[in-house]
Symmetry: D2
Subunit: 350 residues, 4 copies
């Protein structure tokens, strides 16, 4: 019942350069695939800002990939004993994991016991892959070991939804899943006025009233930003990533403050960027081209750079560009709608 394998075409612009500092030091232009073309202008303005403000500093705080399994035992006491024993067998468990892949390594286990159910969230490093399949394979091997060791446990599921993949959660932000990246910039009053047509105070106040409080009022969970999802989608697609992961990626926090000299500190905090430079979707010509463009492809020659972390960092810097641009426009009454109409009118002429 699968027919007609064909292709669809998403419009893609290369925007930049964005000046990146911190963990890296380079200027990169980025591909953005979207039907919503105002996004290109938005990133472009942020890119210009990065050039005039000394760059966007990126820091990789954490990197892990997870899969959770569920098992059923006799009762909570039974499961607590098994938990204790498994925590004492980490060498054995590591051995099982490394037999399933050259790249997977078990770095942590998080247990939640609920009645006679136990949820185990296995946390791995997965090299240059995003790690969806690698962690499933490793977790299946661990599951097989556990079930063969503890005969009175019963299989429930290879995925217990506390992983959690492509779904909203608090656990991914708290315990980590994917790359946890922070991007930061400092912007003087003058640059703020020249490029963003606004002031540091206006952006800082808008961040409090819209991103922090507005999100709290909306009943959001561990998320406070204007539109991270737009850039995530626009970059995951041309870079061959599984773009359904923008769901957890969207749960990030924009944090701002006013520096002593009156300049603006603006940061984008993305705890769940799930990307890789090998695996499904990475062999298309356009993906290779864009990974090369970002200096993220010939990873085999490198001992020091993790290219998956690098593209996650570039994506987060790009989010910062579009986030600050949109927020700046919303500080000025009427600007957002005017900008959209202008861009779309232009688009129609093409």
């Amino acid at each position: 019942m699968i027919k007609d394998i064909e292709k669809i075409y998403i419009p893609t612009a290369v925007v930049g350069p964005i000046k990146i500092i911190g963990n890296y030091d380079e200027q990169v232009s980025v591909p953005l695939s979207t039907y919503e073309k105002p996004l290109w202008a938005s990133v472009s303005r942020g890119a210009k800002l990065s050039m005039e403000s000394g760059g966007i500093s990126v820091t990789c705080i954490d990197d892990r990939m997870t899969r959770s399994v569920v098992l059923e035992g006799k009762d909570a006491g039974h499961l607590l004993k098994i938990k204790t024993q498994l925590l004492g067998q980490q060498n054995k468990l590591q051995e099982i994991v490394v037999n399933t892949s050259n790249h997977a390594k078990l770095i942590n286990m998080h247990f939640q016991i609920l009645g006679n159910l136990v949820y185990i969230r296995f946390e791995y490093t997965t090299g240059e892959a995003s790690g969806h399949n690698m962690t499933t394979k490793a977790s299946e091997a661990l599951l097989n070991y556990i079930l063969s060791t503890y005969k009175d446990l019963k299989y429930v599921s290879i995925s217990g939804n506390i992983c959690t993949d492509k779904k909203v959660s608090a656990i991914n932000g708290i315990l980590g899943r994917g790359k946890n990246i922070i991007a930061e910039i400092n912007i003087t009053k003058d640059v703020c006025k020249k490029i963003l047509k606004t002031t540091p105070e206006k952006i800082h106040n808008l961040n409090i009233k819209k991103n922090l409080i507005g999100s709290i009022l909306a009943g959001s969970i561990r998320s406070a930003n204007a539109h991270y999802a737009n850039v995530l989608l626009a970059m995951y697609l041309p870079l061959g990533q599984d773009a359904a992961n923008i769901v957890e990626g969207s749960q990030g926090i924009t944090y701002t403050s006013i520096n002593k000299d009156g300049s603006l500190y603006f940061s984008v905090n993305c705890p769940n960027i799930i990307v890789g430079v090998v695996g499904n979707g990475k062999d298309y010509n356009f993906v290779t081209k864009y990974l090369n463009m970002l200096n993220c492809k010939n990873y085999s020659n490198s001992n020091t750079t993790n290219y998956s972390q690098k593209i996650a960092s570039i994506i987060t810097a790009t989010i910062l560009c579009s986030e600050i641009s949109l927020m700046a426009s919303q500080t000025n009454r009427g600007e957002l709608m005017r900008a959209h109409e202008l861009i779309e009118r232009k688009g129609k002429n093409k």
Copy 2:
């Protein structure tokens, strides 16, 4: 700084037919764009199930689009008075809205007063458009009216994040945003065994332990499913939709029960499907082709069918297909990994 506008190509399969009943009665094949090809097999199995089980019943529960603004007043008492007055001027406000568009209609206003801030969430119907821009335009007109009427109010933002667009929230599920669609199916034990290789009880139990409880343990918010985001992405792209809206779309709930005769009742509940058949992204040839394929294009000839609601319904039925297929495979130990490896090995040979 925007360069090289080009295109990327996402692999797309047409999968089906899916038998749809309830609000519609037809068999449709659906386009699925993704780098993750196991999704095609997953939907295909669900499609087969729909054909052998009398169809997937779809119901549109609600349809609205929202935009929220923020204003600052003197104090809470001041804002409460203005709220009361605005609620008494609905005709005037409606007049302002209909002047901005032939399709927008104001259907509700939701106020949240916090200290000296007021957040107003305007709710509209937007005809056959998803309504992102239409609601911004209408809300800007309302904002201008409010600011000119109440001189002691100050503009804060055209978007106050309780709309809320492309971000996680509880408010969108509770108050509605986009199409609220339910898809349901009943599956006999025999069909369950034949097509899904499992039993109604196993699927029902997995839904409780994984989707309901696992999601609660993960700290999810108003969301309990296995992988709605995958189908949302795969269908929003070929249908020209703004796929960043999969974020709120992902927050849906899979609900199952066992019927008296032992058959399985399986439902997919998607309160926030944000799609349209006109607007940005709808003029590409492939989009036109697929909208036609779904009988959702020549909307001008119709007085009765809302085609936006129809594609939302088809998408939800397709989510049901992939959701039940994945869950069935997870009830059988080892099946998920085997299936993925099989499909990916095949893919490599091509």
Copy 3:
């Protein structure tokens, strides 16, 4: 199996006066029952602040009490039809409600359809009672009517947990439950220094970093404050309220800003204060005494004052007193621990 009905004794201090303006204009002292005596000092400092700053302005934004029922139908389409019909019978439903009580009035119905289940959240005004039992009784009558009218509906539960009583939720903040009260104060730099030993900027910054962002990082939901629960408990007990309602009461938001003249705007926003002046627990001598002390008892003589709203307002003003005092102390390194140790050492000497 119920034995030995006896009494326990909770230490109670009367603290104040607190100057209240806005909906009321008076100075009140409040009873605070707690084992944690530093709370008394904390409220006392805030009370002093209210006297030197022109008072705490209180505003009642909303007042309603809710109960939700769950029913099972044939399918979602069936339930949607019933929803539409019920929305058209509001006079009939009101008649049923008023027959169950002299004080209950149905003011709204909120429906959530999930598969073949329908959750109906009935919203009432309940006069001077908190309304727990009144709304259960009215909802049972509505349920009986619905079940007798729609024979193919099945009873599931008189409470469907979207009410929601004594449990964490986003729905209570968004749709309202109990009294929604805002308390506000403006504090000059001088008064801030004199009484709170800190500055407006320090408190505002702490609110951003601790209450707003810290709560977001903790995975909180529609809640951002330092310790509302302490005052809620300490006042619900001596006023004869059901103190388990501090759970939803705790979900409030502290919002601050800096005024143009450099003074501090500080507000406490409590959407779910659930209290009454009649009903269970109100006939104890000490409760009568304290209700009188707050001028909230002889409600029968009044046509204009709602005393339930008044005690909710006084409670919210008291929360403001303790919230700002704790936050001020946390802006100064070392102060919190010193204060606690001092108070507890004193306590031991008694």
Copy 4:
């Protein structure tokens, strides 16, 4: 401004015996302080159930107390380096902690870096105390060490709200705070019919539709139960606990399933029971009496029993009693209201 220190009196019944097995093996009667007397009957029915069903098994899964501090650095990279260094100095940090108390021990540190802010959640064991003050004192000492070691860090707050105390969160359930206790019982069809007037299937189905799904629909977070808060309040008060901690205590999950023999498995899962047997509030005569009644007082003679964990376990078993009783009554249309009216009419006669 603190006047008239007096006492209020909360009605208290001793209800039981409840049969407890698992970590303990005894029959205990429990004190319940409340204005809402139907709670006594509800616990009493559950107690009877425990006697006729072989007892309620209790398991202590975890025990820790937390306090979080916030600091400001130069940027995220700076904070990441400090995090790494602190993780390497656990012996030094432990030494600082044990100097502040005979009972506190540092068992874990959880870091969240957000822009140039770092939140550190210190996790301790605190012996027989609930640990509120002990952890503040230890955390202040750690904070002083960190600030004196890293001169370019700035103090923000001794509490950063990711602790988190008396507030709703996902973090407390995921990382632990207080005692994590599970209570379980198996109930035959016959006992279910005899004592609860219902069937295992009816209770299991109600748990799915009300506690699991109803709570999800309400936008709850890591919480799915009917009324844990009622018992928490009623037991925290007579046992001298800080009852504002019922806020996080209320976030627990009721999990049920049907055993192969048709009997009911019913469990109550409370990750955040915050109690102690020493400290504030424990020296009142009635507290001593009740702690003795629960065999939880002469802790000095014991090397093996942790009495704080024991009272947390008894509280959780009592929650199970009232939870199952209320749920049973809600499975039968009309029963809840009848029961309340009956009990309250009786109460009035007294």
